[in-house]
Symmetry: C2
Subunit: 258 residues, 2 copies
Amino acid sequence: MNTDKNRPLILVSNDDGIEAAGVHRLVEWLSALGDVVCVCPDSPRSGQSMAITVNSPLRLTSLPDYKGTRMHKANGTPTDCVKLAMHQVLDRRPDLVVAGINHGSNAAVNVVYSGTMGAVMEGCAFGIPSIGFSLTDHSPDADFSPCRFLTEKIVKAVLTDGLPDGVCLNVNFPAGHSELNEMRIVRAARGKWTDEYEAYTDPHGYPFYWLKGKFENEEPDATDTDEWCLAHGITSVVPTLLDRTVPGLISLPSLSLS
Amino acid sequence: MNTDKNRPLILVSNDDGIEAAGVHRLVEWLSALGDVVCVCPDSPRSGQSMAITVNSPLRLTSLPDYKGTRMHKANGTPTDCVKLAMHQVLDRRPDLVVAGINHGSNAAVNVVYSGTMGAVMEGCAFGIPSIGFSLTDHSPDADFSPCRFLTEKIVKAVLTDGLPDGVCLNVNFPAGHSELNEMRIVRAARGKWTDEYEAYTDPHGYPFYWLKGKFENEEPDATDTDEWCLAHGITSVVPTLLDRTVPGLISLPSLSLS
């Protein structure tokens, strides 16, 4: 697939699937800033984290262009989509990987489960500046238009300046605001999911369970967190690491002698 | 389910599925150190990272005891198994979550894709000391016996001393050694997967892809890394974070004005 080498190449993916509104808005907005190629899961893959498809084959399908952008779908996870794009779709290394706009929050601990951030962290694993965008509104008809100003601003900044190696961005927009102009660089709030399953009985008398849950922010007054920003109408930008090692080797005295 | 409140309660899971040899060895060894309950995926779920099952129901099935340990399987990911165990199986909070022993390495960047470490990080999300064990041998018949000495040592140490909040352990054993007595606390080596897909044509003439790949260690001489340890017959212990925020808020000058 030939791309325009005179423009930045931007790979776009998501976890809500190729039909989601959020990714179509991203494609529209970003195509003014670069040459965009879109590779998304063929169906919703929320909560897929950085899952990869190891034990079954993957299909990659080219779709009709959307407003001039090449669209592709794959029967895999968001991370699979980025891997497939890098190896099978793109004719050169992209300048940026962008995922979203997610229908729903990926703030706080949600970042670890997020398929959107799975695509972003895979971009980061390839050493490419990568950004995830999410709006705290799960509705398929969510209004993404207030996100446009800061999305473009952040993408332009990262295309110009890049990001530190191994660092990607997790951007969350608060829903319910007609204008979003303020953003802050913050950390992920500490919090937990509770009350996580609805228990049912099937027509044959056997139990089954469905994931639900309620997020409890453990530090609602911490102004340097993403959850605080979102509660106050401010867009949160969390610089996020691919590497998981605790920085500075911690001492575990009881393990010191083998 | 009633557990013995006078002994430490240890939840065991894995990503290779309930039939894997690695988890049976763990169950055998750990049942001498505590009251063990095992909840594993009903089939192999390698590469599931911290994926959760959002859009379909989960089943949880009790199986016959294995050498006195209660065994359960679920049709979900490793992270689902830990969540289900916490909410639907255990009668009290476990003292420890242990996953593995994985058939294959989870060193370096593999930690981000690992379903074994997905279970461990979910334990960590619940605030429970959590440890993942992996042997660098993918064989279903891998010999786990050399791992016993250090597995017991590490589990005893963590049962006694706990772990810092938000930190879990990613332990990798090098295959091909009849004795494993030495371990080091190290960081994940930097490296990349390359050559990631085998391309095929199906009988109807359509292409499909299967994930493969080759891991390239970008710093083979760095003695403070897991890959270096494994290459030198030493067991690696990587203290691993659940939180992904870059520590110390980084400055991104071009984002500073909104």
